[in-house]
Each structure stands twice: as C-alpha cells, then as structure tokens.
C-alpha cells in the first residue's frame, strides 16, 4: 500500500465525536454567554517579520526626532557671528597702529603688488625714504623661504640687511630691516611684494635737500670762521692769552665743522639708501562664515543622532549581556521542554 493510499484511507475514516461529547461541549458553550474577544495591548512578539518593520520604524523615529528638535533649536548662531565678526589679531594691531589698511590694499589678495601705489622718491632730489610692508605667506615653510628670498632680493639690488628676526611657531612671523638704494626702492618693493599676499603697506618720504643745504651753509660759515681765526693767529703781536683764546675758538669750530660734515654725510647716506621694514607672517586661518539655518539644523540633527547612537550603544553594552543570558535561558528552556515533549510522545 502506497503512502497516497494510506492517506486516502485515513482521510476517509475521520473520527466523529460521539453524541455525548457533542452535547457536553454544547452545554459548555451555552452555559453562559461566551465572552467576546476584546482588543487589548499585546506584548509584541519578537519575530523576524516584526523586526523588519520595527527596526526601520525605530530608525525613522530617531531621525525624525532629531530633525524636529534641530528644527526647533537649530543651535546658537550668535557665537558664530561674533567669532566671524572678530577680526584677526594682525588686523586689530594694524588698525591700532594706524597702518594703511585700505580695502584696496587688504582685499586685493594679489601677489602683484603695485609699486605705483606707494609714492616714488623724487628724482634728482635727496630724500629719506622709509617703507613698511606686511606680507602674508601660506605656512611656516613658506615663511622661511620668503625670509631667505627677501635677503637675496635686497643684496641683488645692491642693498643690505640691517637685521632679521625670525620666529617659526604655529603662527610664525619674521621681521626684516632692509636698506636698498633709493633709486631702486620701487623695484625692491615690487619684488618683495611677490613673496606673498600683501596685507599692509606704508611709506614715508622726507625731502632732505633743505637739510643738506643748511648743513652745507653751516659748514661754509664754520670754515670761514676757522680761516679767519687762523689768519688772526698769524699776527706775532698777539699776547699769549689772546692767542690761547683764539686757538680754543678755532678748535671748537673745527669740531663743529667735523660734526656738521658727519651730519651731512649721514643725511646723504639716508638719501642714498631707503629703509624697508618687511613683516612676514603666516596666513591667519580663514574665519568660517556664519552657517546658514539649514546648515545649523543639519549640524544639530547630526549631533542629536550621534547622541542617540551613543545612548543606544550604551544601552546595548549595558543590557546586552543580560539580554543574551536571558535569551540563552529561554532557548535552553524551550529546547528542554520540546525534548521532554518528544520523549513523552515517543513513549506514549
């Protein structure tokens, strides 16, 4: 007999409940009105199909909550605005010193420094020319390189370096005092400006012609007086006291003449060489513009999501072992119960 025939015979011989049992069951059912099913709060069954729904719903809820909170409290914008409005330290120092920081000078952000923006020394007239130049470079390496190149430029133009101060730190800077022939100062400024981004510039020009003329006239007067006293001293009739007095006056005039000549020479030297104070500094970090509301909402939502993730991780770490132990107990008890049932049914 095949399995199909067996099943057919089993199905055909379905047991029928005896009348006594049927009446008994009817009596149970009609004993009192059967209470109808009432909707109640059911403990969710942690089955995989439910998890497939529950997990995305939980994730969506977390994201929605973060977005809602972030939309209502998008973060403190004031702080960002203040930090953006606060000028860098270099900017503040420039303003306090009254350095020329006109927009055209500071905002150009170009390396093509226009020498024409600084007045050129008057041709043919002795002038004292002093310029201050502040240049920003990218980083510490660029700062070192620019310092070396600045010295090379000055020497190439026939000038010299008076002093160099170099400090390389997180915000490095270098200070150089340079002297270049006045006739080539424009060239020097142009080449120095190419070392980086010109942040500030200033120039002072002082005409020295009057000073030199005055010193020259004074020297002439002194020489004339010295000549006159020298002539007086040739008189043999002078008393010893008078001679000593004239010699003393001549010595004083000669000292004054030497001093005048030195001043003239010094002033002429100032006229021949221009002084350039070169400040090199690393670029200040760009200040981020104040974030928009959308950015702040996204940022805040991200922070809330991160917090939710951390809280979830914390809960998992704390509760995970307990859940695993409970699950192990549950599975063990279930397997044991099934084993007992199987053995029981096998014996029966």
């Amino acid at each position: 007999m095949t399995a199909a025939e067996l099943t057919a015979q089993i199905c055909a011989a379905k047991p029928i409940a005896p009348d006594g049992l049927r009446n008994r069951v009817r009596a149970i059912a009609s004993a009192e009105p059967a209470p109808a099913f009432r909707a109640r709060l059911r403990v969710p069954s942690w089955r995989v199909p439910r998890l497939r729904i529950l997990l995305p719903v939980a994730a969506a809820t977390a994201v929605a909550a973060a977005a809602a909170v972030a939309f209502i409290h998008p973060g403190d914008r004031q702080q960002n605005v203040l930090s953006a409005a606060k000028p860098p330290a270099t900017e503040r120092s420039k303003q306090s010193l009254g350095v020329d920081t006109t927009p055209s000078a500071t905002d150009s952000a170009t390396q093509s420094f226009k020498a024409a923006t600084v007045p050129a020394p008057a041709a043919g007239r002795p002038t004292r020319y002093a310029a201050q130049l502040t240049i920003s470079v990218k980083n510490g390496n660029a700062l070192s390189d620019a310092t070396t190149r600045a010295q090379t430029i000055v020497r190439d133009l026939g000038g010299y370096v008076v002093n160099v101060s170099f400090a390389s730190a997180e915000s490095g800077n270098a200070s150089l005092t340079l002297r270049v022939p006045t006739a080539r100062v424009q060239d020097a400024l142009t080449r120095l400006a190419a070392l980086g981004r010109v942040v500030a510039q200033q120039a002072q020009i002082e005409d020295l012609q009057a000073t030199l003329d005055q010193l020259a006239r004074h020297a002439i007067v002194l020489r004339a007086r010295i000549t006159h006293i020298t002539a007086l001293l040739t008189d043999t009739t002078l008393t010893s006291v008078k001679r000593a007095d004239l010699e003393s006056q001549r010595a004083a005039l000669q000292n004054a003449l030497r001093s005048t000549r030195q001043s003239h020479e010094s002033t002429s030297q100032d006229a021949r060489y221009a002084t350039i104070q070169l400040q090199l500094q690393t670029a200040a970090k760009a200040v981020a513009p104040p974030p928009s509301r959308a950015n702040r909402i996204l940022h805040q939502a991200g922070r809330i999501l991160a917090w939710e993730g951390a809280a979830l991780l914390y809960i998992l770490v704390i509760a995970g072992p307990f859940v695993l132990v409970a699950a192990a107990f549950g599975f063990t008890a279930r397997a044991r119960r099934r084993g007992q049932e199987t053995r029981l049914l096998a014996r029966s």
């Binding site: 399995a3 409940a17 069951v25 009817r26 059912a29 029981l344 049914l345 014996r347 029966s348």
Partner: protein, 175 residues
C-alpha cells in the same frame, strides 16, 4: 455571525466567530486529533471536553489575526493531552510495581482497515499526531508546525518519517 452596525467601524472582531460556532465547527477535528494521539476513545472524549472547557475560559484571549480557531483549539488540545501524559507517566512511576496498563486501545476510526489500525498502533504518539494534523485534519505545514511548536521543516520531516514507518509496517504486515 457578523453583527455590524452602521456606525461601528469594521474591525477584526467582526470576523471572530462565536465560541459556540467554533466549538460546533471543530469538535470533530479536536476529537479526532486527540483520538489519534491517545488511541483511547474514552480518554479522547475526556480530553476533548477538558479542551473546550479551557478554550471557553480562554476565549477572550483568542485573536483571529494570529490564527484561526481550529489551530487555536488544537493547540489547547495538545497542551491538555501533554499535561495528561505527564501526569499519567508520574502516576505510572509511582505505581511501577503494579504497572498494569489500565488503558485499553480502541479503534482510531471506523473505516480503517485492521492492518492500518495495527500499523498506526506501532507508531509513537508524536508520529500519530503529525499524521492527524497534516493528513486527517489537512492542516497546512505552517499551521501544523505552529500547533506542534516546531519549524515547518521539522514538521515536514516528522510527517515524512511517520508515513514511511507506516508504509513499512503495512508492507511487513502484508507479507
């Protein structure tokens, strides 16, 4: 069985049968299952009565969304039968010295051949119950597995083995 009013929203309660209707519809199924399981008509009647008493008390917990009344009643019937088997086993252990089977085995159903009846008697209760659920009551694999508390795969395996053993017994008897 639906008692809808115009104002009442339609819910799953509307599809829930009354207990009396469910008992009337599935009495034979429960009795047949228990008869296959116990192979004793008197015991099957007692267990069936006990099953419906329990079901009547638990009827408020029956949720038609989670399964039909038939599988729900069969689950209660199985629990009731297992409780009885456990109690019977404890009783047998206590009375081991006078261990004389006090239950006689009845015919499972009218219409079964004596050979098939004898072959069914050689199967274990576990094998008979899966045959009862899948063959006699024509439950699908998932529902039968839910009643038995095992996976559908395990249920299919158990049915296959039971039918194979039954076939072997029938072949042996016919030789």
């Amino acid at each position: 069985m639906q008692t809808l009013t115009l104002d009442a929203p339609r819910t799953h309660l509307d599809s829930a049968p009354s207990f009396a209707a469910a008992a009337e519809a599935h009495l034979d199924d429960v009795y047949g299952y228990l008869l296959y399981l116990s192979r004793n008509a008197t015991l099957a009647e007692d267990l069936t009565g006990e099953t419906f008493e329990k079901a009547f008390k638990l009827w408020r917990r029956f949720d038609p969304r989670r399964g039909n009344a038939k599988s729900w009643l069969l689950s209660i019937a199985r629990t009731t039968a297992l409780d009885w088997f456990r109690a019977d086993e404890r009783r047998r252990r206590r009375e081991e010295r006078t261990a004389v089977p006090d239950l006689h085995e009845d015919a499972i159903g009218e219409g079964l051949s004596p050979e098939l009846e004898a072959a069914l008697a050689t199967l274990t209760a576990g094998e008979r119950e899966v045959i009862a659920l899948r063959v006699l009551l024509d439950l699908d694999g998932d529902t039968a597995a839910r009643v038995l508390g095992i996976s559908p795969t395990a249920c299919s395996t158990r049915l296959s083995r039971a039918l194979k053993r039954l076939e072997e017994r029938m072949t042996d008897d016919s030789r």
